[in-house]
């Protein structure tokens, strides 16, 4: 009896710990205890990372006045649940708060966002192998290049090229992130704080990592500025 009670208690505690963090974070936020709400949401992340948790973290950081963290978490939420219109709207609203324009996806990003990075790699592998087979088998077996074979070869070639381009584009996006500093930060001409300034990166502004050296990153911001930034001020999305 005692043993079963103990096991039940242990299970209940475990349940609370694992499933209660999200709800606890919600109630702490509603009570205005933002720091504790952040801790609760972070505990939930250990169990499972969802767009809702990242979204709520972003909202809580916004309440605390930490725009950089708010924007990063909201960006992550849009990646986890891209179908959520509200996340995109709030990301634009947060960016607006720090003086950044709303995000406009170009056609390449719209297309490549259909699938995840790993899925694009699988698609590319399928098409590539199918193309190899489509070329090699007719030659090896001596099949006639009739219309069906030609169509198959063309489709496979096109699929390989397009999926390869999409995968390559998605690959570069892995090195994208945002600035976390609370004020506009200088970009430098060299990986050193004392180097001359070449530009500015705003709080929450997106940038692409072009190079890394020691604790510095060479970035190209969405505004077009290029320069070196200490890596502590920047965080990638992936």
């Amino acid at each position: 009896m005692k043993k079963s009670l103990f096991i039940t208690l242990l299970f209940t505690i475990f349940l609370n710990l694992s499933f209660g963090s999200f709800n606890r974070g919600l109630s702490l936020y509603e009570d205005g205890k933002y720091e504790q709400a952040i801790d609760a949401f972070k505990r939930e992340l250990i169990k499972e990372e969802t767009g809702a948790v990242r979204h709520n973290l972003g909202v809580t950081y916004f309440q605390k006045g930490n725009s950089g963290e708010a924007i990063w978490n909201m960006e992550r939420a849009t990646l986890l649940n891209p179908e959520e219109e509200a996340y995109h709207y709030k990301l634009d609203a947060l960016r607006e708060q720090v003086g950044l324009p709303p995000i406009r996806l170009d056609w390449k990003e719209r297309i490549t966002s259909i699938l995840h990075h790993d899925d694009w790699m699988r698609v590319f592998a399928y098409f590539a192998l199918t193309t190899i087979a489509a070329f090699m088998f007719p030659i090896a077996a001596g099949w006639k290049h009739n219309t069906r074979v030609r169509i198959l070869m063309a489709v496979c070639c096109l699929g390989t090229i397009l999926s390869g381009l999409a995968f390559s584009h998605v690959r570069t996006l892995l090195d994208r992130g945002v600035s976390l500093s609370q004020t506009p930060t200088e970009l430098h001409a060299a990986p050193a704080e004392a180097a001359p300034q070449t530009g500015l990166i705003r709080t929450g502004e997106r940038a692409l990592i072009l190079e890394e050296h020691n604790d510095f990153l060479f970035l190209k911001t969405e505004g077009g500025a290029e320069g070196w930034l200490p890596s502590t001020y920047f965080r990638k999305f992936y």
């Binding site: 986890l80 709207y89 003086g99 090699m136 090896a140 992936y238």
Partner: protein, 605 residues
């Protein structure tokens, strides 16, 4: 029981039997000084007890009726404790000293009269003391105050909130060796001042015919109360002064003047003070004070610019206001942005860059984020900045020019609207509108209460060896299949290959029929199919067509092919048996040996 009450009574009366003895004394140290020197007026309150240390009552002021013509300043206190054993008995004493610096305006005798000090319920009589100020000898060396002193040039008048720079200077005569600066203090209740820095500017100056090393600290001063405000600075330091007998105005020791008197000095710790100064702090004039004035005092100019000349509805632009000049930058707040319906604005960020070490000169920039709400040629809100110029004693208002901006319509979709609809039939919705859009700020504060399944976004596949192995295996399989197809194609195109294949197939088929005939004991069919199987087998082996060949041809070919002799013999025997049964009418039974022979032949072929 009675004894307990007696003991309790005695215990209660015990503190009355323990009384500390309190004595008070006053003196000048030294009692005789030369004109220009300072003396200390010291009042000592001493409590002595033989039963243990006592707690003193802190004395914070002395009710001196009049200073007798002396200038008394820099009051401070100190206390000391002492325990002594006299004839085996311990005696505890605590001395509280109240010290004032005394300076005489001229030579003569100065008296501070007797007065009463109330201490621990007792009236203590402070005795009268006299200070003798003797004329200074022409050959006498400089006083301590002339050798080392603190100076600060301060204005007589300031406006409240006006921040100024001044220099605090410590003059050290060339014969004095400064060994340490211990503490800095200030008496400036009506002001805020900066602290002195660890590094001081060092220079050399001539003052009153003497050469001094000067340590200079630039500082700022800002009055925070109006009226006459006292200000005074103090430095506690340790210095080695040239040997001087301060008790003898003529610079002689009781034992005569030593030739080393001016060479070896004594190291002592003391305080130096600036002269007591009073600054008249004026209030800012209320007349003609602009609405946009928020406390800036100094001399400023402004610069306003926008980061773009055109924009789109809903896309933010930045308006920067830079205030340059000198003054109290820390009190300059962001100018208010007038509200206009065509703009939505947010609180600006500010950044200050000083061009001097004290932060009195520089520029302060305010960046406003503005979002146009409608398209068209819009005017940016005008900014006003006002300050008070203390030199001109008037307010100055600066206004930004009206910057125009061309705003285009944005192609972006509008934000999603969160609506709430009433339950039930909407038949009366023309009177009640229960749909409300949340503002952007309200939306930003709204949580997501339902976690949904998220897709896996973390790229893992490149670290997944199984993925690489799987596709490598597929690739290898494609290569192998290609090779196989090529071989097959080659063989199919070879007529000899086709014939051999066909013969092999026919041989197998005939053998199967022979086995069938064997099991059904059909000897005719057995021998017939056995011969076909052997002929086709030889055809498949050799590549030549022997489907209708006789035994002689068969054996001849097999010999050419260097086949085993035993195999040839088996074939001859089987063929002889077959021909004999089929054509010779020989009654041959289907023995096991015959069947095994056929099996051996087919296995070899």
């Amino acid at each position: 029981m009675r004894s307990i009450y007696i003991h309790l009574l005695l215990l209660a009366l015990l503190p009355l039997t323990i009384r500390a003895e309190i004595t008070v004394d006053a003196r000048f140290n030294p009692p005789r000084i030369a004109q220009g020197d300072r003396a200390q007026y010291i009042v000592e309150v001493k409590e002595t007890s033989s039963s243990g240390s006592t707690s003193t009552e802190r004395v914070t002021s002395l009710p001196i009726p009049h200073a007798g013509g002396l200038q008394l300043s820099n009051g401070r206190t100190s206390s000391s404790q002492q325990t002594s054993f006299i004839n085996g008995k311990a005696e505890y004493s605590v001395t509280q000293s109240l010290i004032l610096d005394a300076q005489a305006p001229a030579e003569g005798s100065y008296k501070i009269p007797s007065y009463t000090l109330r201490y621990k319920g007792q009236n203590l009589q402070i005795p009268e003391v006299t200070l003798q100020v003797l004329p200074r000898d022409a050959n006498a060396g400089p006083t301590r105050d002339e050798m080392i002193f603190l100076k600060a040039e301060l204005p007589e008048e300031l406006y409240i909130g006006q921040q100024i720079r001044f220099d605090l200077e410590l003059y050290v005569e060339e014969n004095v060796s400064l060994t340490g600066l211990n503490r800095f203090n200030r008496e400036a209740d009506g002001f805020t001042t900066s602290d002195i820095s660890d590094d001081a500017e060092r220079l050399t100056k001539m003052f009153n015919g003497r050469r001094y090393s000067v340590m200079r600290w630039p500082m700022t001063l800002t009055p925070i109360q109006t009226g006459a405000q006292k200000i005074n600075f103090e430095l506690s330091l340790t210095a080695r002064l040239p040997q001087q007998n301060t008790r003898d105005a003529f610079g002689r020791s009781p034992f005569g003047r030593s030739i080393f008197d001016d060479v070896f000095g004594r190291s002592e710790q003391f305080n130096v003070y600036t002269e007591a100064t009073e600054i008249n702090v004026l209030p800012l004039p209320q007349a003609n004070q602009p609405d946009s004035f928020s406390g800036a005092i100094g001399d400023f100019s402004i610069e306003v610019l926008s980061d773009t000349e055109e924009g789109k509805v809903g896309e933010p632009i930045m308006l920067s206001l830079t205030v340059r000049g000198s003054g109290n930058f820390e009190r300059i707040d962001e100018p208010d942005l007038p509200e206009k319906t065509e703009w939505r604005s947010y609180d600006p960020e500010s950044k200050f860059e000083a061009t001097d070490e004290l932060g009195l000169r520089g520029s302060k920039r305010f960046d406003y984020v503005l979002i146009p709400q409608i398209p068209g040629k819009l005017e940016l809100p005008e900014l006003s900045f006002s300050y008070f110029d203390p030199k001109k004693n008037q307010y100055v208002s600066l206004n930004s020019p009206a910057l125009k901006l061309q705003v285009e319509q944005s192609a972006a979709s509008t934000a999603p609207v969160v609506t709430t609809k009433p339950q039930g039939t909407p038949s009366e919705e023309s009177t009640l509108d229960l749909t409300r859009s949340l503002s952007t700020e309200e939306v930003l504060r709204t949580l997501d209460y339902q976690p949904k399944e998220a897709r896996n976004i973390q790229p893992r596949i490149e670290d997944d060896r199984f993925f690489m192995v799987k596709y490598a295996v597929v690739f290898i399989a494609i290569l192998i299949a290609s090779v196989f197809l090529h071989i097959r194609k080659t063989r199919r195109r070879d007529p000899l290959f086709a014939q051999r294949k066909e013969a092999k197939s026919a041989s197998q088929k005939a053998f199967n029929l022979a086995q069938k005939a064997r099991s059904s004991s059909d000897i005719d069919a057995f021998f017939k199919n056995a011969q076909v199987a052997i002929r086709q087998g030889v055809t498949a082996k050799t590549g030549d067509n022997y489907s209708t060949a006789g035994i002689e041809h068969l054996c001849e070919k097999l010999k050419e092919s260097e086949v085993n002799e035993a195999l040839i013999q088996d074939i001859e025997i089987l063929f002889t048996q077959a021909d004999g049964h089929r054509f010779g009418g020989v009654d041959t039974s289907l023995s096991t040996e015959t069947c095994d022979r056929l099996d051996r032949i087919m296995k070899a072929l």
